[in-house]
Chain length 202, copies 2
């Protein structure tokens, strides 16, 4: 049976790198921004638009009332809803094509009825997260550690808000995952080895 690995991750925890190396090692397909590219091919939505709304920048659907007509509600599809719906379709299609690794985008929830290993990658060492961001930044993007920390926490708050809106589950709660790995304790390669061991068991 096709095996699916979903990697949910805190920002700058090394989760994406773990997913990429894992896919290479296991010869699984790897789907991160590839989900966006796939949707862009099939729709008239731009990659920038899709990327913006793919797992953060949640746009909520507020009821519209006209004048004093309380209770008169027009259902409205928000940009987030539009992108989320496209993601469901594309992710299910891709997961049906063979063994694969998905990064984020509620993949643990969307693909929950498949033969899936749901992994959560996090790190309890903020200084290592900051270093990871710096290593990837361009020279002209360099900002203070304090500012970087704020941005890191903001990305996670956004992902959490998005995830919880569409799944009604708590982001980062062990109950939603099969395996949770703290990269403050394990390197990227070590985490890959642990997950590779675990995937042989499902």
């Amino acid at each position: 049976m096709t095996k699916v690995i979903s990697i949910s991750r805190e920002f700058a925890s090394g989760g994406r790198e773990i997913g990429k190396k894992l896919a290479e090692r296991l010869s699984f397909a790897y789907y991160d921004k590839e989900v966006i590219n796939e949707i862009a091919k099939d729709t008239n939505l731009s990659k920038e638009y899709l990327d913006h709304y793919s797992e953060s920048n949640l746009t909520r659907n507020f009821p519209i009332t006209i004048g004093h007509s309380f209770g008169l509600v027009y259902p409205m599809i928000t940009p987030s809803d539009e992108v989320y719906k496209q993601q469901i379709d594309v992710m299910k299609k891709l997961a049906g094509e063979g063994d694969c690794v998905f990064i984020g985008r509620c993949s643990d929830y969307i693909l929950r009825n498949m033969n899936i290993l749901r992994v959560f990658i996090y790190s309890t060492k903020m200084e290592e997260k900051i270093d990871r961001c710096k290593a990837k930044a361009n020279v002209d993007e360099l900002i203070s550690d304090t500012e970087l920390k704020k941005r890191i926490l903001k990305v996670d708050r956004d992902r959490k808000e998005y995830y919880e809106y569409y799944t009604s589950l708590t982001w980062g709660d062990v109950k939603n995952y099969d395996l949770c790995i703290n990269t403050a304790r394990f390197s990227v390669d070590e985490a890959v080895e642990i997950i590779a061991k675990a995937i042989t068991k499902i």
Copy 2:
């Protein structure tokens, strides 16, 4: 350097069995009730008393006020405090003697400054937890599934209350662990293999 594995676990998740098999496989010492026995040897406290207060049945220290003398507080050592303090001393002593596995009793927190792998074992399948309890029960202990579920949840609530009182951390929150494994997805033997792989990395 001595390696310590701390297994925190939801009740009936298979955590204790995982810890025992892991210790056997790695030839590590195994400390569960052994901690209690060790304290009983060195003190005048009974095993029953120690067991009762070892990781649940928290007794809180309420300030005592006499008459209208608000603010007059007598420090009081509760049974929980007494047992917890003994556990700290004995666990640190045992952990210093060589590679070992500890089950619960805030060992992740008490031994946090050692070379420790902090594991949390949980299960999202209540029916499997109930089956695990039934398999261990004596014939005359058999009770309904509903009653068993209530007891399972009660044990976890007690452990959570005890843990959070002494550590000021949230029991079952990924942040306090290095590796979290859902036994709804992995068997006891599979979990042992995953942890055995992880321990080679620390």
